[in-house]
C-alpha cells in the first residue's frame, strides 16, 4: 500500500502512479501520461501547489483511462460528460487545479455540446484531448477527427465525412488557450501542459496521440510506423507554418506589418491561427504548437462571483450564520 504523501519530502512519480495497465505497447497515451506526471511534480515540488488541490477527470475511451494510471483526486465519468462535471468542480471550488482528459470521440462527437460551451463560458480548467482519429476502445471505428479517406472498420471505403477541426472550434468559441501537442515529444508536451494549466480560463490542449493498433495508413506497417506517418506526412510546427504562410501567402506590403515569429499572445493571434490552420489544411497538414494564449477574458467563475476566497463548496451553510439573510428572503415573500 502506498504511503500517504506528506509535503516534507519531494513528491515522486511513483507517489502519483496508479495501478492501471490499459494501453497497447507503444500507445501515444503513455507519452501524455509521462508528461502529465512531470507537470504534477513541477506544480507540487517547485510551485507549491498542494497535491490535494489537483483534480483530474475523464470520460470514456482509451484516453479516459488516464485517472486509472494516476493516484490523484479524480472523477472518471461517462462518455462525453466529463467536461460538465469538471465545470461543476471548478465552479464549486476555484482553489482546485482542474484537468480533464478526453479522447477525440469523447470530446468532439458525443461531448461536443459541452466542449464548445466550456470554451465560450471560459471555465478555468484544462482539457487535454488525446486525439488519435479512431475509437480505440471499440476496436477502431473512425472518429470525428479522422481525416478524409481514412480506412477503418466503420469506413471500409475510406472516410467520406470531413473531419472536425477542434482547434478552429476552440478559437472561434473564445477559449483562453489553444494548443496542439504530440505525444512523442514529451518535453514540449509537458511545457504546453504546464502553460495550459497556468493560463487563466479554458485551455484546450489537443494532443496527437497515435493509436498503434487501429490507425492504419497505406505504406506504414509495423509497430511505431504510425508515429512516422504523423511526423512525416501530417504535422507541421507552427513557426514553420507561419514562415511558410508569411512568405507564400502574404504580399510584400502585408509582410512588412507581420512579425517574423508567430506570437500566440497577440490580439490578432486568433485570426492568424485560423488562417494558419486553413493554409496547412490545403497541404493536408495539421499545425502543432501554441496557437492562442489570452488570459485576459473573465472566467466563468469570475462572472458568477466564485473565487478561491469565496468558494461555494467552502462557504458556511449553517442556519445560524445565515439566519438574518434567510429572514429577509422570507420577508420579500409575504
Amino acid at each position: 500500500m502506498a504511503a500517504v504523501y506528506t509535503p516534507q519530502k519531494p513528491l515522486t512519480a511513483a507517489d502519483i502512479t496508479g495501478p492501471g495497465a490499459w494501453w497497447c505497447s507503444g500507445c501515444g497515451d503513455f507519452g501524455v501520461t509521462a508528461a502529465f506526471k512531470e507537470v504534477v511534480l513541477t506544480l507540487v515540488n517547485e510551485m507549491g501547489v498542494p497535491l490535494e488541490r489537483i483534480f483530474v477527470l475523464s470520460g470514456i475511451g482509451c484516453s479516459s483511462k488516464e485517472p486509472e494510471m494516476l493516484r490523484l483526486n479524480a472523477y472518471h465519468g461517462q462518455h462525453g460528460r466529463s467536461i460538465p462535471v469538471a465545470m461543476g468542480v471548478a465552479l464549486a471550488n476555484p482553489n482546485l487545479v482542474v484537468v480533464d482528459f478526453g479522447g477525440d470521440g469523447d470530446t468532439y462527437a458525443i461531448g461536443m455540446e459541452h466542449f464548445v460551451h466550456a470554451c465560450v463560458k471560459n471555465v478555468n480548467m484544462t482539457l487535454i484531448v488525446m486525439n488519435n482519429q479512431v475509437y480505440g476502445l471499440t476496436r477502431g471505428q473512425a472518429s470525428p477527427t479522422g481525416h478524409l479517406g481514412l480506412r477503418t472498420s466503420s469506413t471500409p471505403e475510406g472516410k467520406k465525412v470531413r473531419p472536425v477541426n477542434p482547434l478552429k472550434l476552440a478559437i472561434a468559441a473564445g477559449a483562453a488557450f489553444v494548443a496542439r501537442g504530440v505525444s512523442w515529444k514529451r518535453k514540449e508536451l509537458a511545457e504546453l501542459m504546464l502553460k495550459a494549466i497556468q493560463t487563466k480560463g479554458f485551455s484546450l490542449l489537443d494532443v496527437f496521440s497515435p493509436c498503434v493498433t487501429y490507425h492504419r495508413e497505406p505504406g506504414y506497417r509495423g509497430s511505431g510506423a504510425i508515429v512516422d506517418w504523423y511526423r512525416l506526412n501530417y504535422v507541421v510546427d507552427i513557426q514553420e507554418a507561419w514562415r511558410a504562410m508569411r512568405e507564400q501567402v502574404f504580399s510584400e506590403e502585408e509582410r512588412a506589418h507581420l512579425p517574423a515569429d508567430y506570437d500566440p499572445t497577440s490580439p490578432l493571434a486568433p485570426l492568424y491561427a485560423l488562417r494558419l490552420i486553413e493554409e496547412a489544411a490545403r497541404r493536408g497538414k495539421e499545425v502543432t504548437g501554441l496557437l492562442v494564449m489570452n488570459p485576459s477574458a473573465p472566467t466563468l467563475e469570475e462572472s458568477l462571483g466564485a473565487s478561491p476566497e469565496r468558494a461555494p463548496a467552502l462557504v458556511d451553510i449553517s442556519v445560524e450564520a445565515n439566519l438574518e439573510r434567510y429572514r429577509r428572503l422570507l420577508d420579500e415573500l409575504r
Binding site: M1, G18, R71, V85, G88, A92, L330, R334
Partner: protein, 599 residues
C-alpha cells in the same frame, strides 16, 4: 361569505396575472388564505387566451374549487371558444348567480384587444346562470384618461375593491411594494385604480353577498409564494449553494429565484447548455463539496437520466426537482400532468439507491427540502423532489415559515487524513463510505468512478468486489433508507372506519381533501392517504390503508395510472375491483367536484 373564487380571463398580455395576483395579495394582507393558479395558460408568448384563478377563504386552501363567483372578462375568450378548437371558456364555470365584470369598451386598436367583449353573444348562458353583469369601460378609460392600455386590469381592481368593500389603503400598500412608492408606474396604477373605484361608486355597484368576513391582521406575517419559490427557498435554507439548470416550464422559477438569491449567499448558479450538462454540473459541484441541486420537467428530465445513473454508482448526493407537466415529449408544456412518476422511481439505467419525496403544498415543500438535502448527504444518493405544474406555478399562503427549524446533517465526511490512503468506496459495516472533499489537506486519493470500482475507486470487473459494491450501494443502502425517520410519512385524513379511501400525491392534495370533506357533509365517510415519500415506497402504510377501506380511489394526472401501478406493484397486488382510478389527463386542474363526479 366563507370563500370567494375569482377568474381573470383575457389574452396573454392583458395583465390578468397581475390583476388576479394583486387581488390575492390584498386579500391575504386583510387576513384571507389565498390560492392563485393558472387556470388556462398556453405555451405561447403571444396573445392566446389566458385565465388566472384566485380562491380566498378564512382558512388554508390548497387548490381550486369548481365554480367561480366572479368572472373578470378582458376578452371575448372569457365567454366563447372563438377559435372553435373545443376549448371550454371560463364562463362555463361561473356559478349560478355569479358576477361578470367585463370590459364594455368598443373594439380598440391595441393588439391585445382583438375581441370586443360582448356578453350578448352568450346571452342564453348568462341568463340561465342568472349572472349579474357589470360593464366597465376599462379599455376606454385606460386610453382616454391614461393613454396606456396596461392599466385595464388595475381599473378593474378599483371597481372590484368598491364592489367587495376592500379598503383602498390595502391596494396602495401593494402598489407601493410592486411599483416602488412615488414612481410613475405607482402613480399611474393608483390613479387607474381610483378611476375604476369611482366608476363603480357612481354606478352604485355593490356585491354585499360576496364580501369575505376577514380579520387577523397577522396575515401580514404569513408567506405568499409559488410552489417553485417554496422549493428554491427551502433549498437555500438547507444549504444549497450550487444550482445548475436549463430553462423549462414549469421549473424555470426555481432557476430564476436561485439566480437572484444565491450569489449574495456565496453560491453559484449556472445556466447550463442543456439538462444533460446541468445534471453533470450538479454532480461536479457535489463531488467538490457543495450542496447541489437542479430542477427540470419531463423533456429535461429525460436528458438527465444518464447523469442520475452516474450519481447512483458514484454515490454522489444530488437533489433533483421534477416539476411535471403533461407529456409525453413536448406534450403540454404549461399544463399539469403527473406522467413522470415512473421515470423518477425507475429511471436511470442500472440498480442504485434513490429517494423520492413529494410535497403536498408550499409549506410542506419548504420544510421537506431540509430532509431532501440531509437524506442525500446521509445516503450519498440522488434524492428527487417530485411535484407538478399546479403546485409549481400556483401561489400558496402559508403560516410564517421558520428557517431556524432547519438542521443540517452532511452525513459521513472525513476532514483529516486517516491511517493509510483515503478510499472513496471503503467497505464499512453499514455500507456507507465516508466522503472527503478535494482540497482537504493530506487527502489526495479521492477517486470517484462511474465504472464498477474497488474500494480505492479503481476500475474492476472482479466478481467478489462487484457483488460487494452492489450490495453496499443498493441492497444495504435501501435497507438503511427504509428505516430513516426523516422520510416524510403519508398524511392521513378522515375517520378510521371510513369505507371509501383516496390515495394521491402532489397538488391534488387540496381537491381530494375537499372531496373527502364534502362526502362527510353528505353523510358519507371517506379517508385520504396523501403520500409524501414515493421511494422507498411506504408499502406497509398503503397496504394497511387499503385493507381498512372497502374501495380505494387513486387520484392522479396520468392516463397510465402510474401511481396506481406503483401501489399495486409495491403494496397490494392487483386488487382490480377494490382499487380504482380517478384520472385527469386533459391538462386542466383537478377540483373537488371533478373527483366526486368521477367516483
Amino acid at each position: 361569505m366563507g370563500t370567494l373564487q375569482v377568474c381573470g380571463a383575457g389574452r396573454a398580455g392583458d395583465g390578468t396575472n397581475t390583476n388576479v395576483s394583486i387581488l390575492g395579495q390584498v386579500l391575504k394582507d386583510l387576513g384571507a388564505w389565498v390560492f392563485v393558479w393558472r387556470e388556462e395558460v398556453y405555451s405561447n408568448i403571444h396573445t392566446r387566451d389566458t385565465a388566472f384563478g384566485l380562491r380566498a377563504a378564512g382558512g388554508p386552501v390548497y387548490g381550486p374549487d369548481d365554480a367561480f363567483d366572479i368572472l373578470e372578462a378582458f376578452d371575448q375568450g372569457a365567454f366563447l371558444d372563438w377559435t372553435g378548437e373545443g376549448r371550454v371558456p371560463p364562463l362555463a364555470r361561473l356559478r349560478q348567480g355569479g358576477v361578470i365584470l367585463y370590459d364594455s369598451s368598443p373594439r380598440l386598436e391595441y393588439p391585445n384587444t382583438g375581441h370586443e367583449v360582448r356578453p350578448e353573444q352568450v346571452e342564453g348562458e348568462v341568463r340561465a346562470k342568472g349572472a349579474r353583469l357589470f360593464g366597465l369601460p376599462m379599455g376606454r378609460l385606460a386610453k382616454e384618461r391614461f393613454g396606456n392600455y396596461i392599466v385595464r386590469g388595475t381599473i378593474a381592481l378599483g371597481a372590484l375593491a368598491h364592489m367587495l368593500g376592500l379598503p383602498e389603503e390595502a391596494f396602495v400598500r401593494r402598489f407601493a411594494r410592486l411599483f416602488r412608492e412615488g414612481s410613475d408606474l405607482f402613480r399611474l396604477n393608483l390613479e387607474a385604480f381610483r378611476a375604476g373605484l369611482e366608476h363603480a361608486r357612481s354606478e352604485g355597484w355593490a356585491l354585499p353577498d360576496l364580501r369575505l368576513a376577514l380579520s387577523a391582521p397577522e396575515g401580514d406575517r404569513r408567506q405568499l409564494l409559488l410552489g417553485n419559490e417554496a422549493v428554491a427557498l427551502g433549498a437555500i435554507v438547507a444549504g444549497c449553494r450550487f444550482y445548475a439548470g436549463y430553462p423549462i416550464t414549469p421549473a424555470s422559477e426555481v432557476l430564476e429565484y436561485m439566480a437572484e438569491k444565491l450569489p449574495a449567499l456565496g453560491g453559484v448558479v449556472v445556466q447550463a447548455d442543456s439538462e444533460m450538462a446541468a445534471a453533470h454540473h450538479v454532480i461536479g459541484g457535489s463531488v467538490a463539496g457543495a450542496r447541489a441541486m437542479t430542477a427540470t420537467s419531463g423533456p429535461g428530465f429525460s436528458l438527465m437520466q444518464e447523469a442520475i445513473s452516474a450519481a447512483g454508482i458514484t454515490e454522489t448526493p444530488v437533489v433533483i426537482v421534477v416539476s411535471q407537466r403533461g407529456g409525453p415529449a413536448t406534450g403540454l408544456p404549461t399544463k399539469v400532468g403527473q406522467e413522470d412518476l415512473n421515470e423518477t422511481v425507475f429511471g436511470g439505467h442500472g440498480d442504485f439507491a434513490r429517494i423520492v419525496l413529494a410535497p403536498t403544498d408550499a409549506e410542506d415543500a419548504f420544510y421537506m427540502m431540509e430532509k431532501a438535502f440531509n437524506l442525500a448527504d446521509r445516503y450519498q444518493c440522488p434524492v428527487f423532489v417530485i411535484y407538478d405544474q399546479m403546485f409549481a406555478q400556483s401561489t400558496y399562503t402559508t403560516p410564517p415559515l421558520d428557517p431556524s427549524r432547519f438542521v443540517i446533517d452532511r452525513g459521513k465526511v472525513v476532514t483529516v487524513p486517516l491511517n493509510g490512503p483515503y478510499r472513496r468506496y471503503a467497505l464499512t459495516e453499514d455500507g456507507i463510505s465516508p466522503r472527503a472533499f478535494p482540497g482537504t489537506p493530506g487527502i489526495y486519493t479521492i477517486y470517484t468512478n462511474t465504472n464498477e470500482h474497488t474500494e480505492e475507486g479503481y476500475i474492476t470487473e472482479e466478481m467478489v468486489v462487484r457483488k460487494a459494491m452492489v450490495e453496499k450501494r443498493v441492497v444495504k443502502r435501501m435497507d438503511l433508507i427504509r428505516r430513516d425517520h426523516d422520510l416524510p410519512p403519508p398524511r392521513l385524513h378522515g375517520p378510521p372506519d371510513a369505507p371509501i379511501g383516496f390515495i394521491a400525491y402532489g397538488s391534488t392534495y387540496g381537491p381530494v381533501l375537499e372531496a373527502v370533506e364534502r362526502l362527510a357533509g353528505q353523510g358519507q365517510k371517506a379517508r385520504f392517504l396523501a403520500l409524501r415519500t414515493l421511494w422507498p415506497f411506504p408499502g406497509r402504510e398503503v397496504r394497511r390503508f387499503v385493507d381498512s377501506c372497502r374501495v380505494v380511489y387513486v387520484v392522479e394526472y396520468s392516463a397510465g395510472a402510474q401511481l396506481r401501478g406503483l401501489i399495486q406493484r409495491e403494496a397490494t397486488g392487483p386488487m382490480a375491483r377494490k382499487i380504482r382510478s380517478i384520472l385527469r389527463y386533459d391538462g386542466r386542474p383537478m377540483t373537488p367536484g371533478y373527483v366526486l363526479q368521477a367516483m
